[in-house]
Subunit: 346 residues, 2 copies
């Protein structure tokens, strides 16, 4: 048996996603995690929940309790929500449920790599639309791309650039699109901007949220999707029935009811301090998220300097993002350490 030949044709050229993380680090500012762990009271509640877990029993396949909390919090019906093992899984389910081989999946570039990787992994054809000089949507090109596309994925704010695309352009896209428009609002709690109020008006609008960023739960892998109930019921056809484990459901329920505004505020204050300190020396994108995209002089040298100091950052190597690094806004200690290197010149 030639195992390689057995592969699905559409994934033969695909490479595994590589988060490119540094193995040993002192500071980790490479994955847009929250530098602050869950607050002490929430941690106490989580550990209390864990003590009550029946480890031998399957999770609630409908995640009824968590969906109830999220429905109330977001003023939507529980039938408009599905929970995922991270938003990644929900992006995958969308593609699995709604794309036939060869269907076009549009996304701006640069953006979150998983859109195109998962499109390919599902036999669809990704079409990347370059952002304009300000990393905003190219309106004409995007409108052209969504014509005939099954999906367009828009990270809002965008990752790795950090900015929110123009609201007016997105509205035009939602109205013009024949397929679904997925607003990936993974960093919504930092931007405060959302398309959620338009969900009822536009059947083709899909909103993704996550507990991995502002809610400090990257470890537990919980994302959720809000969409027309008919979209949700089709997703449930391909969803693995027990996709979200007991502890993740419990942790997300605790954090959904925990005030995160103080932590978000701390991060935003630090972000603005860093932005001000850096923009004199480097091109830096004005950010609506918990990270900054910075163009350094020499990417390889910068990476080395960060590694030498035990700081794991995300460095981009190719195309338009060559010599750009993405710096997660962490704790003041982490930020100071990163700033010191950048101030020395890299």
């Amino acid at each position: 048996m030639n195992i390689r030949e057995m592969q699905r044709s559409s994934i033969k050229g695909l490479k595994a996603y590589d988060p490119e993380l540094l193995a040993n680090y002192r500071y980790k500012v490479d994955a847009n995690e929250n530098g602050y762990d869950v607050p002490p009271l929430a941690r106490k509640k989580i550990l209390k929940e864990m003590k009550k877990v029946f480890f031998n029993r399957y999770p609630d396949p409908g995640a009824v309790k968590l969906k109830g909390i999220l429905a109330k919090k977001n003023s939507v019906s529980p039938g408009s929500i599905v929970i995922g093992n991270g938003s990644d899984e929900l992006i995958h389910y969308l593609l699995q449920a709604f794309t036939d081989p060869g269907d076009i999946i549009a996304a701006p570039a640069p953006s979150f790599d998983m859109y195109s990787i998962l499109a390919l992994a599902n036999g669809a054809t990704p079409v990347m639309v370059p952002l304009d000089d300000n990393f905003d949507l190219d309106e004409a090109a995007t409108l052209k791309a969504v014509n005939g596309a099954k999906f367009i994925f828009l990270a809002y704010p965008n990752n790795p650039t950090g900015n929110c695309f123009s609201r007016g352009k997105i509205l035009k896209i939602i109205k013009a699109a024949q397929g679904f428009v997925v607003l990936d609002e993974a960093y919504f709690e930092f931007s405060g901007k959302t398309f959620l109020p338009l969900l009822k008006k536009h059947k083709n609008l899909i909103i993704l949220r996550t507990f991995s960023k502002a809610f400090s739960l990257a470890s537990m892998r919980v994302g959720y999707m809000m969409a027309d109930p008919e979209v949700i019921s089709i997703i449930n056809k391909v969803r693995l029935p027990y996709n979200v484990n007991v502890v993740s459901q419990a942790c997300a329920a605790v954090m959904a009811q925990t005030a995160i505004a103080p932590v978000v505020k701390k991060i935003l204050t630090e972000r603005e301090k860093l932005y001000s300190a850096l923009k004199k020396d480097y091109p830096v994108v004005k950010s609506d998220a918990n990270f900054l995209l910075i163009k350094v002089n020499d990417g390889n040298y910068a990476k080395k300097m960060f590694e030498k100091s035990g700081i794991s950052i995300r460095m981009f190597k190719d195309g338009r993002l060559k010599d750009f690094l993405r710096l997660t806004i962490g704790t003041p200690d982490e930020n100071r350490a990163a700033l010191a290197i950048l101030k020395r010149g890299v």
Copy 2:
């Protein structure tokens, strides 16, 4: 937008998997869970691990520690292992990575429903081969079905029948198959029978194991696959990078190092007691797993009687399994309660 029309063609006829669980119950013997929760010492270790979790950090995408433990335990290389968010996810990945639309997926019937559901959800064509009168493989029909099939899925022991198929027949199938032969050994710890020693000899052999049954971790969703390293590296192309969360990895690591033989022995002793008590009154399949398949006189009446007593069981309604119920061997209390109803005649 007509959302239904947007669906992938191959899933239009698909229905969401329904575990058909009773909402309120006193005893739950419907999902082949372990009636015994993790042992006290393991629970202590798990809670200790949880206290150390950095909730704000992503899990190890490579699950290196857990794979190391499992590699040692099973005498295979870590490169022969991939961890899944339950075995369900691994079955899905196999289909996603290796089937093109229309590829044939063979499985005996009756068997685990997810093989055909996930085949359909991935655009493949399930071909079910009826088991013989003893619920063993029909050798000729199965050999014919694997000719040209991309996969055959064999649950070993089989679910919901509980028996292990003849080893000799499976060996012939492994040798004759042009595609992959997946031995789903979810209940291996109860049967003690495995094809693992043949893994190196047959490149087309794939073994699935789970922590959801004998290891009392259904809540945490951890399964694993052992296969040729080339199969594993292709699975890693479609695997979501952070598919197994931090706590699930930690729980599985603890349980992989916990002696489960005493619990398994208790369950097997109870199973034989129940089997002996029931076989005079009902056709019961001799079981290699932690459950019994029993043919009652009237399925609807039986279901009502169990529900009335607050016992959630799995009842089959259609085709060859009409009036068969699958009873998980639980704790002595659970078993006594189920036996009492069966002894009254249903």
